[in-house]
Structure formats: structure tokens, C-alpha cells
Amino acid sequence: MPSKPQTLQNPIIWFLVSLVILWAAPLFLPTFYVYLITEILIVSLFAVSTNVLLGFTGLLSFGQVAFFGSSAYAVSLLIKGTSLPFAASFFISVGLSALAALIIGLFCMRLRAFYFAILTLAFSQIFFVVAYKWTSLTGGDDGIVGIPKKPFFLFDINGPDAYYHFVLLVVMVSLALLYLIIRSPLGEVLQAIRDNSERTEFLGLQVRNYRLASFVIAGTFGGVAGALFAPFQGIVTPELLHWSHSAEPLMISLLGGMYFFFGPIAGAVIFVFIKEWITGFTEYWMFWYGLLLMLLIMYLPGGIMGFISEHIRRGKDGPK
């Protein structure tokens, strides 16, 4: 087997180094960028969780926003409507996302590719309509405003730097767990299903159960991202649950490289920066972003990570 330097191979070292650097970031970055990185972290987690389905199980779901959005609503309602500590609200919301993913997954797993995608879309539309129309609970069109950042256990997370650190820790732990899952036997089976679901069945594995597990994993961590997002924005609106929002983590994954664990993170960095940059001078940032994405997908079909890894490989093997 090829031997690489041990330290470069060890993901735990990478994890710790990036954690330390990012932890120190507010020391030398203006608050505006602290906000931006907070958003990147949340979007990254949402995209990576979606990519467990897309890139690692081969399932196209248009409904991931249902878990992100419903968790954002749940945490907001619990924070504003009850005296529960924030940690409890947080974990209840994530648990609800997992449960919703399990129930919706049980329905959707019966169907094959195309119908699966449409059914997930339909489910997320139901969530949208509930948020939009159940005014007495959700505030309807106006949404829920003034969501405070209550302490998480004993930690004060009010203020941009403190909340950034909270998000950083939660996202890093979540990403570490997702990474472990992808590298686990279960993760390898998911990739086998992506490659050839029929052969997976002929090796004695019930594909449907594994797909369901993948759906619940994606929904749960999508829920974590949503629960982080609501206090960060301080407001949740039905727009959060709109199906077009589901396309975001999909496009980010494509942009970054969906066959790489870290692809969606690279995609999220670029997505958030471009959005920020283009909205600076035009309202139609989606148009320019769409155009850019089209070009990137046409000329970089493996995404950013695919491009990078191709070059590393070529460098190693020498020119062909």
C-alpha cells in the first residue's frame, strides 16, 4: 500500500489545527467577517449533511430544507414560548428533525430515483405551507422575530464572537461525527449503494434500510444547522422553508465536489462569499451566481475538490 506521511494522513490533526485557527479568527478579523464565517459554518454543515445523501448515497432529495427549516422554527418557538434552557430547546429541535426524517423517509424510500426526488419536494412544500398559513403558531408571513441567544448550559453565547465560537464548536463536532460515519462500514455501504444498488442487494444487504439510515443522518444534521441558524439570524420566516432553498445545499455540493467529504465546505465558502460580493452591487445575485455555477459545472465537472485532487494526482504520477 502507498505510504504517505503519517501526520498528513491523520484527520484528527487536521481537525485540531483548523479548530485552533478558526477559534482565534475573531482576534484578527473585523466583526463583519466573523458573521460571514458563522454563516459559512452553518451553510457548510447543511451542505455536508445533504451531501451524505447526494454524493455518498446517490439520492437526490429536494426536501432537505424541511429539516433545516422545521428545526429553525422549533428552536425559535421553544426559545420564545417556553422557559426551557436553550440547550434543551436545541436538542429537542434536533430530535424532532430526526423523527421527521424517519417518518418522511419511510414514505419516500418506497420510490425510485425520480419519484423519490419529487416526493421529498412535496413533503417540504407541506412544511412551507404550514409555516405560512398556521399564523397563530408560526406568525405566518411575518415569521418569528427577536429570537434571543440564550446561554447554552453555563456558557454565555450572546454577541457575535461568543455565538461564533458556539457555532464553531457545534459544527466541528457535527462534521467530525459525519466524517466518522462516512469512513465507517455503514458509510462504505452507502457508497456501494450509490455505485450499484443492485449488486449491493446481491451481497445480502437491504438497500432500503441503508438509504433510510442515510436520510435520517442527513435530516438530523440538517436540523442541527437549522437550530444554529435561527438565533444567529434572530428571525425565521416561511421563506426559509421554501423548496427553492433546498437547491442551495445541492448546488453548493456540486460546486465544491460531491464525491469529496470536504467538497461542500469548499462550495459553502465560495457560495457565501460570492453571495456577499454580488449582492454588494446587484439585487439579482442569484442570476450571476447561477451563471457562474453553470460555467463551473461545465468546466469543472468534479467540482473544486475534484479539480484539486486531479492536479495532485497528476503531479504525483508525472505528466501522462
Binding site: L180, P185, Q191, N196, R199, F202
Partner: protein, 250 residues
């Protein structure tokens, strides 16, 4: 007692009767070879036995239990595994990972989600052994779709062997292999079957392979069994000579 029984099974695709009221009975420990011209229905029969398609009528019984109607994973769990005529593997995974999926399933470790698969020593050791047996160890890190045709065929068979089934169904295992590859593969299969006392049902066009391996041969034509018997008998059979050995194929 017979391990596998196919009882008056029929299957048609539209107007085409691919398998018609076919009867087949295979004893435990037997090596049975099915021969027949292209389109005789051999692969369709395998598909019916392995649960890839369902028969229009009739039953398939394995180890005394009806398996027709079961889904493929269930049938595999009963100890009946198959390979495919057209190599059917995981193209974006490495050769090592391909075989590891089969081993994880066999060792019932495919649900573990909290531990890196690279750290499961018993699993990885077993994968290494299998690759060594199939002469694929030097290709362990290669992505499967980069393999040569012969190596793909070996990978295909290793996936079945990795499951340590009670009975193997191999659909033209050596199709397209060169003669050295064929020879080593057949030796491997032979050794495995005798050492573990496995039951083997295979289809094959290469008569040298057929006669060197089979205890008994079944000759199929237009979805039906024309005759059945030990190799010498089949070699001498007039029908087989006319339709197959002397005629359409050779």
C-alpha cells in the same frame, strides 16, 4: 436430498418464452454445469433462482424452503449467492473496498457507523486473504472501473466467494478471460468447492472448462432441459452434438 429444486418454472418476456416449465434438481455438494446456445435461457434461469426476476409460474426451493417470491438479500442470507455474466461491481470504489462490502455483509458488520472501517482488523484481514487468492492483491488500491476485463471477472467471482455461500451460481465465470486467467480461475473454483464441499451451479461456453469441472451437465435449448447426465454421456449424446457441440456454436 437435493439442495436446490426448480419446479416447473416458466418465464416469458412478452411473446418470448425464455424459460418454459423447467425442472432442475441439484444435490448438495454437486457441481452442475448448464450448457446451451446463446439465448437458451441460462441467465434467465439464474435470474429466476436468485430473485432478480419472479417466475410466471412454478417454484424455486432452496434447502427445503421456497425462495421464489423472496427479495435478493433474503435469498443471499439463506446461503445462495450468484455472480453475473456482465461484471457487476462498484465502479468508483477500490478493488479492496469492493470485496470489503461483501465481507462486511458476511461478517454482519455492515451496520457499524461509529468506527472507521479501516480499523476493523478481522474484516480487512479477510479481504486481504481473498484478494491474495484471486491474485488481485497488487491491484487492491485501484479503482474498480480501471481494471482490465480479466481482472473484473476475477473481482466478480471474488465478491461471491467472499460471501461464503452454501451454494454458488456462476454465470459464465470465465467469459472473455485469456487462457491463463481461465485456468487459474477454474483451479481456484475447483479447489474451493472441494475444500469447502460447496454446491456449484454454473453456465459456461468453454467445453474444456465444462468437462473438467462438472459432475453433471444439463443441456438447455429454448428454455427447456433437453437432456441431463454425467459429462461422458452428454459428450456422446446425439441431440447435444447436433444442436450445440457440432452445430450452432462451434
Amino acid at each position: 436430498m437435493s439442495l436446490l429444486e426448480v419446479r416447473t418454472v416458466s418465464k416469458s418476456f412478452g411473446k418470448l418464452q425464455a424459460v418454459s416449465e423447467l425442472e432442475l434438481s441439484i444435490d448438495e455438494g454437486e457441481v452442475r454445469c448448464i450448457i446451451g446456445a446463446n439465448g437458451a435461457g441460462k441467465t434467465t434461469l439464474f435470474n429466476l433462482i436468485s430473485g432478480r426476476i419472479q417466475p410466471d409460474s412454478g417454484q424455486v426451493v432452496f434447502a427445503g424452503e421456497e425462495i421464489s417470491g423472496m427479495r435478493p438479500p433474503q435469498i443471499v442470507r439463506k446461503g445462495l449467492s450468484r455472480s453475473f455474466q456482465v461484471s457487476n461491481y462498484f465502479p468508483n470504489l477500490s478493488v479492496f473496498q469492493n470485496v470489503r462490502i461483501a465481507v462486511l455483509s458476511r461478517m454482519r458488520k455492515s451496520r457499524i457507523f461509529y468506527w472507521p472501517v479501516s480499523r476493523l482488523r478481522d474484516v480487512n484481514q479477510r479481504v486481504g486473504e481473498l484478494l491474495e487468492n484471486f491474485n488481485l492483491l497488487s491491484l487492491a488500491e485501484v479503482t474498480a472501473d480501471k481494471l482490465s476485463h480479466g481482472d473484473r471477472r476475477k473481482l466478480e467471482i471474488s465478491l461471491v466467494v467472499a460471501q461464503e455461500p452454501r451454494m454458488l451460481l456462476l454465470d459464465e465465470p470465465t467469459a472473455g478471460m485469456n487462457s491463463t486467467e481461465t485456468e487459474s480461475t477454474i483451479r481456484l473454483i475447483k479447489d474451493l468447492v472441494t475444500r469447502l464441499g460447496l454446491t456449484l451451479l454454473l453456465t459456461e461456453h468453454d467445453m474444456k472448462v465444462v468437462f473438467s469441472l462438472a459432475d453433471k451437465i444439463t443441456f438447455m435449448h429454448y428454455g427447456q432441459v433437453v437432456c441431463e447426465g454425467p459429462p461422458e454421456e452428454i459428450k456422446a449424446n446425439q441431440d447435444v452434438k447436433e444442436i450445440y457441440l457440432g452445430g450452432e456454436v462451434c
